[in-house]
């Protein structure tokens, strides 16, 4: 099994394919990627689209034979409504985690709402994945403060600091045991340094496929495999995601 832990059911796919995942999955098949965490997109761009986006996401994942694993989001300005949306999807296990994209969603992570979200998602036994690697709301250390305040919440840096902030991601990973990081962004030497300096049991891999129609998988998988030996690939592409998602529970 290979898990791509950072993909989207993007607006471009909704527009082109409706709720049919076959073309999307065909790209996965090209690289023998068996499973993917699928994040929303339209709902990240526009809070008014969250409910529809989640319905699309649930439908498309339901049609994927268990290969596409949905994560949902919530409107950070909607307080109890946002929490209710999280309960609605995590309560019966239809979604397996929550995603926030602070700069797209226009929200600081340092808010009482995010404190509540962290506790609520932890109560559901699910992780929260954040876009990270860009100022002003998504720096690894900022997300690390949430991890510090909520030690029982599993929090994932969705990009391991991206191209510019992977050093910050390393620093914060090494300071917070409940923080995970998805290698989806740093250049080859950044990936190597993360592998060398972070706890490899908390690392994941992702492509960001689906945000656009481009096939990002070939490049991102090549880049990762160039940096990781076989046991590390096994661990990061399969073992760690299974643990994160409580796959065998």
């Amino acid at each position: 099994m290979i898990f791509d832990c950072h993909t989207h059911w993007g607006m471009c796919f909704v527009e082109r394919d409706g709720r049919d995942p076959s073309a999307w999955l065909a790209v996965m098949d090209r690289y023998n990627v068996t499973h993917a965490i699928v994040l929303p997109h339209a709902g990240l761009e526009h809070a008014g689209h969250i409910a529809d986006d989640h319905d699309d996401l649930a439908a498309v994942c339901a049609a994927s034979d268990g290969r596409m694993i949905p994560f949902v989001t919530a409107n950070p300005l909607d307080g109890d409504g946002g929490l209710a949306e999280i309960d609605r999807w995590l309560g019966d296990g239809e979604a397996r985690g929550v995603k926030f994209h602070p700069w797209l969603q226009g929200m600081s992570v340092c808010t009482p709402f995010m404190d509540e979200v962290c506790e609520r998602v932890a109560a559901h036994g699910a992780p929260i994945l954040f876009h990270d690697g860009t100022p002003p709301y998504s720096l690894p250390a900022q997300i690390g403060m949430l991890a510090r305040r909520h030690p029982r919440t599993t929090i994932v840096l969705g990009h391991t600091g991206l191209f510019e902030y992977w050093r910050e991601a390393i620093a914060v990973m090494n300071a917070r045991d409940n923080l995970w990081a998805c290698l989806c962004g740093p250049q080859l030497e950044g990936v190597r340094q993360v592998l060398a300096r972070c706890d490899r049991t908390r690392l994941l891999w992702g492509s960001d496929f689906g945000f656009t129609l481009f096939d990002a998988l070939g490049y991102q998988l090549d880049l990762f495999r160039q940096a990781a030996d076989d046991p590390t690939c096994q661990r990061i592409l399969e073992d760690n995601p299974r643990r994160l998602l409580r796959w065998d529970a």
Partner: protein, 248 residues
Amino acid sequence: MAERRIIDGYTTPGTERETVMSVEALLGAMDVAGVARAVIAPDDRELAVDNVAGNARVAAMASRTDGRLIAACGANPWFGDQSIESLREARASGARMLVLAPALQGFSVVDELVDPLMRAAGELSMPVYVHTGQHAVGSPAQVLLLAERHASTRIILGHCGTTDYVADMRFVLEAALPNLWYELSFVRPFAMSVLHEAGGSDRFIWGSGAPRNDMSMQLRHFDEHWPIDEHPVTYAENLLRLLGEVAG
């Protein structure tokens, strides 16, 4: 079949941290990738605080390779007049390009601090490579301002705002400044069509960013999305023109 001439627009054969790469390793990587020549730049510490020693190390490397390696030099504008002096010295020792790394060197590219150095580079006919990212002090929009202010200095905008400032490139490319070129190291190969649609196709310069990225792998993926045979301008000619080796 036409002979493929490929020049790598940016490499960092350095001595520490994530840029450890000997000249032999670099030449070996070029042979494997089929890259004829490469720009070589000082490493991070050399760009930040050790300009003179870094420039000497890079010049020595280039001088051993019969023009195959093209020396770039560093000068931190915080050194004031001394930075202009080191630029002139580097030029005299064979450097062909100045590198500015605002985040590393501790200034914003729109700070007047850099103006004397930019003017000096223009007078010496040396193109100036500007790293974009970290973007608070070196974003594509800021480099556009720099280029407008220094119309007689030719500027290479490194990395095209990768990653999350690549959106800014549409307006930068549409501005089509005559003194601005766009280098592609760290750009996602599959994102080339976005840059192309924004209209920068005749001003791209391919670079691998080695050893931060793998030269062969970058070239293979770029070839898939921006074929080498169709874009000799990107893979060699723009850079040769900037260096004055080809007219135009």
